[in-house]
Point group: C2
Chain length 697, copies 2
């Protein structure tokens, strides 16, 4: 954990620089919030025009405060912040929250302000949250430096947000729901302290059991990946990433380039780090709540207790979508269940006790299931009914499940008449979902996180390859060229231990014929020219050449077509390659993401790659297990694994992906690299790259 971060959350004293005595000002709201939720430290409003605000003595500058100040909250026009920060430095302040806007979000002038602030902060060793944020709340200590109205109850969810408004909206959503938080942290422009710093802090915070994050961008992808991977071994992170549009990558030069966008890099990184990615604010709250209140499911067999079939059907559908199945209740259990239920009740799972089911029937069904089945998940559902008391039923949920050690998620289908029951359940650590269709997603996230925790630590280190220096020398030879075709990518593949199809660049027909005879027909001809990016569009490929005669015809035809289609292309020669039969065609590639680094791609190759987008991704460095997972996520992987009867050489494929990862890390100049197709032969017979290309930085 980094220095000084604790002063944001557990300061012994706080100064509010720019506190106003006018209740219509936000800075008054901040002081009021600090005053009213039980914060025990000293509070110093700083305002040259007031003597006292809200009962606190006021000081003209922070330098006038008679005691030490740990934390300063600055709410002043942007132009004044630099001087104030200097004063904070002189005063020995450890941490500053700059709520003021007027910085990077407005463009270059504001960005320059941040640079100047950062210099001062570094000079004095001050950590800064913001600027352009809404402050933070430590709910357990009562320190509230925001101007948000109202405060959720205390609990285990730390909410970290890059948008102050989302933070406020979340508070407004949960105020009346009895959902408990440990911290609300708004990070604003992240001039200094980032979302990753917060993960690192919160993993050590005893009041926090789950971290919920709203993120618009991650500043240092590689560090995030490293930190989050560690954090998720101890506490779950649930994350909502806003901004899904894929910028850049419009001028597409390879399949990898077009498929491996920056949004994909986020999703890939989050998955590799064991972070639970959700797609909505509602899901973020629901999932965090469940992870805070309940133990992880010990198995994936669930039982539904309901007073209505419809909601149970919707709930089952949502579980089905997550691959979670209903526990089969054997006849013995069903007989026991029937003893105290309506004779018409359904004792198969879902246990439908019918509309009149009351607290006793729910209690009996839940107790019987806990005692006589192996289910790991209990899902009581209540639809409000005219003659049933929701509060009494909720009490039954609590009493019967509390010592079970099983995962319980309740669904109360409604709003008007279940408010009290919901509060009771939340107080007793049973999360409540309002709609049955949301249960599956939450349970799926809990199951996924259990698997993350079970995962053995991965050895994702990728060493410096032995060919390192040779590769660098070779890259030097390529000079300033950006688009590297197959002919010049082949030597690098060879260095990296990736087998190329047998072939050579020749300068004329005679040499081509001689080489073809040497390697044996059938062969392939490919034009070699830096000026021709798409060989087949230019007529620069001839396949399946069977003999000398056909070679001559095809050679001449190809030259004619290329000269016609790309008149000014400089031709470096002709690549003659062995024509390969059999095997499965896959695509492997790498695109360097600006934020997260080298991202590997694997998928179905050949002509259908863009049509089916059957591809998967991983960010390097990565462990061999992750490469194998990556392969098996695709239909291509399942086909290679024997789906259609033949098992292919997956080990050799893994070797290629590993080699690509090593190569990408060793040679940062490579922006994109693609082997398409890579032929994967039956098991034991290896792989061979039939075409490859690179884009350099």
């Amino acid at each position: 954990m980094q220095a000084n971060l604790k002063y944001f959350f557990e300061p012994e004293s706080v100064a509010i620089v720019g506190a106003s005595s006018n209740p219509r000002k936000l800075s008054y709201g901040v002081l009021k919030n600090i005053s009213q939720y039980g914060y025990k430290g000293s509070v110093f409003p700083i305002n040259p025009k007031s003597d006292e605000i809200l009962g606190y003595q006021c000081y003209k500058t922070i330098l006038d405060v008679p005691e030490a100040v740990d934390l300063a909250v600055i709410i002043l026009p942007a132009s004044m912040t630099l001087d104030v920060l200097k004063q904070c430095g002189e005063k020995g302040v450890k941490a500053c929250i700059i709520i003021s806007g007027g910085f990077k979000e407005l463009g270059s002038e504001g960005k320059q302000r941040e640079v100047e602030l950062m210099q001062v902060a570094e000079q004095y060793g001050i950590r800064i949250i913001g600027p352009n944020c809404v402050g933070n709340v430590n709910i357990h200590s009562g320190l509230n430096t925001t101007f948000i109205k109202g405060l959720p109850k205390a609990g285990g969810i730390a909410f970290v947000s890059q948008s102050g408004a989302v933070c406020g909206g979340v508070v407004d959503h949960v105020l009346d729901e009895g959902i408990g938080f440990s911290h609300l942290i708004s990070l604003g422009n992240e001039m200094d302290v980032t979302e990753t710093d917060m993960l690192d802090y919160l993993v050590h915070d005893d009041n926090t059991s789950v971290i919920a994050a709203y993120v618009e961008s991650i500043r240092d992808g590689a560090r995030f990946l490293e930190v989050a991977r560690e954090v998720t071994r101890k506490k779950p992170i649930v994350l909502l990433k806003a901004g899904k549009s894929e910028s850049g990558a419009k001028a597409v030069s390879s399949h990898t380039g077009s498929l491996a966008g920056s949004r994909t890099a986020y999703t890939t990184a989050l998955k590799q780090a064991g972070v639970i990615e959700v797609n909505s604010l509602r899901s973020l709250l629901q999932t965090a709540l469940a992870l805070d209140l309940q133990p992880l499911p010990k198995n994936d067999r669930a039982v539904i207790f309901t007073n209505a079939g419809g909601p149970a059907a919707l709930l089952s559908d949502s579980m089905d979508a997550q691959g979670i199945k209903l526990e089969t209740l054997n006849e013995e259990v069903q007989v026991k269940l029937a003893e105290k239920l309506n004779p018409s009740a359904q004792t198969m799972n879902p246990i439908d006790m019918l509309g009149g089911a009351n607290e006793d029937e729910y209690a009996h069904a839940i107790r019987t299931t806990i005692d006589h089945s192996q289910a790991g998940v209990l899902l009581p559902v209540l639809v409000p009914q005219a003659l049933v008391n929701p509060l009494a039923v909720a009490e039954a949920f609590v009493n019967e499940t509390k010592d079970s050690g099983l995962t319980t998620l309740a669904c109360l289908v409604g709003k008007h008449s279940i408010a009290d029951a919901k509060h009771l359940l939340h107080e007793n650590k049973i999360p409540v979902l309002d709609y049955p269709e949301d249960v599956g997603q939450v349970l799926g996230a809990m199951r996924n996180y259990r698997e993350v925790q079970k995962r053995p630590p991965l050895d994702s280190k990728v060493g410096k390859p032995a060919y390192h220096e040779k590769a660098h020398e070779y890259m030097q030879q390529l000079g300033e060229r950006k688009q590297i075709g197959e002919a010049d990518t082949r030597p690098l593949m060879e260095l990296a231990g990736i087998p190329n199809v047998k072939g050579a660049v020749l300068n004329d027909l005679d040499a081509a014929r001689q080489y073809a005879q040497q390697i044996g027909y059938p062969v392939v001809l490919k034009i070699v020219s830096d000026d021709i990016l798409h060989k087949s569009d230019a007529g620069g490929i001839r396949l399946n050449i069977q003999d000398d005669q056909q070679l001559e015809l095809d050679y001449q035809a190809m030259m004619r077509d290329v000269h016609k289609n790309v008149p000014n292309a400089k031709i470096e020669g002709v690549l003659v390659e062995k024509m390969y039969q059999g095997g499965e065609e896959v695509i492997v590639g790498m695109k360097r993401d600006d934020n997260f680094g080298p991202m590997l791609m694997f998928g179905m190759g050949g002509i259908y790659v863009e049509a089916f987008k059957d591809v998967s991704f991983r960010i390097a460095p990565l462990a061999e297990e992750e490469i194998r997972e990556m392969i098996m996520e695709t239909a291509a992987g399942r086909i290679l694994n024997g789906l259609r009867g033949v098992e292919y050489d997956i080990d050799s494929l893994v070797h290629v992906l590993k080699a690509l990862a090593e190569l990408s890390i060793a040679i940062p100049q490579i922006k994109e690299i693609e082997i398409n197709p890579l032929k994967v032969m039956p098991r034991g017979e290896g792989v061979v790259a039939l075409d490859s290309r690179m884009i350099l930085d």
Copy 2:
């Protein structure tokens, strides 16, 4: 519209048979509900033990009622319903709602009760809703025959539910939200009146502008399709189907059989009928609300007005997922916007007026956009802020948008402090969503429905084919056989005008050789045997035979393999076919759905069909436009259409699908039929079926 349905909703008099004077009984609740929401007709409680309940004079039997009775609500034990229904018949009652349970839902005895009730109902011409339902509410007339507590306000949404509990849960959800309904209709076991009858009734109901339906199963798929197609030309239907698990079809005999499950049939039918299918109860409510309150979007260009970037990003993401784009605001508009906004506001779309934005700034931005851009959709977003009054902002939304004719959806991110604002907006016909991520789905549904309404009426009639009699004769010849292989499917294909690959069944090697010479090498050999379902597994296929010698070897090897793998198989002969090169392989098939009838399938053929599941479906009868849509929904279709440079003969493919539809309708015995692969040649060169098979009923 069918006879008597109006008596359920607009009766001049109602009898409650089984009304209790005990406030703890549901039947008391029903009477109370009838009494308290302004129903103007006569009310007659029927109870032999009371003289008066809730101020209404009580009668011993319905026959004792001195006036005519239009509607009877029966809440008595199942065993008593038959006698009561007979009395209703004698009394001349037009419609009965049977709330009582104890019927089909309990099994065969209960089912028999329904049969007996139905006989009486038919004898007297009584229409029945239920049994096992919770009654109905006509909110505009105040007739409430349910025991549900509370009543939503009046509006345009008719909610039809096959689950009484879902009906109750929905009411509980919306009671405090100001969402208005025309009818709440719970259908129970649908012994007589079905969901389809209700569509047919509600399309003529002036108070209803949108039909929202919760459905567990549809009783008569073909009729539903026909009725819903007509209804959706006039009013939108939003439908949630519960129960997604695919039952049956475990023993899979073809790709079509495994891919075309009953859940797929539902989704396909709903799409063809122009019904908006949603996946959650929440979506059902949100979508119905928006369709009730707002006009359909006149175009798909939206403008977001917000006081915070984060929620706008989530909202944009949700629109992106639906393919709805943000309107580009030109510089002139942006200059006008800037005039009265915070100097730091973002005037590009989303228009971010920053946290302090008040009602005047929202009003200015909305007005400017309406006056100076072509956007068809306005999306004002408000996150509660300390110094902003949500009610005043909501008023601005209403005032500025009300005469614009544009589609407005508001998003108020919160709950606690926006309740009043939400009510105001709902009263003024602006739907409010609580979470920005939900906006895209709702807008997408409105856009889709606009396209449904624009769609010209389709001619989906499929006539009796000319070969009808011949085909029936041929089917007779096939006798009792269920699994029909290629050899015996070919003649039917030929009758239907679907070109088979050139081929013939031969009885020995000599005949095979002679035929191969006649059609020319290369050829294919296939074993012909009713006992061999999977020819390739049995070693019963030999491809690419180049000459007489290879034919002999392959013939003998195949016979050996088949005898070894399936020792007792009766071999009818060998199919010798021309080996076909070139073209694209697709799969076309038909599976007869129990509920909806013949369902056609089209997709990528050959070896990848199960791996990629790139398939689409339509239910026959269908129009040619629907066949073309079906093709273009798949990657296979886009490839045929020239995605990779070559255009294939889509017209001939359409002809084959049309022929399959005709054949399936003409010959109901065919349960499944599959052509895999069908080779589609380049445009103008036709198609050819390389393999086909059938399953008969």
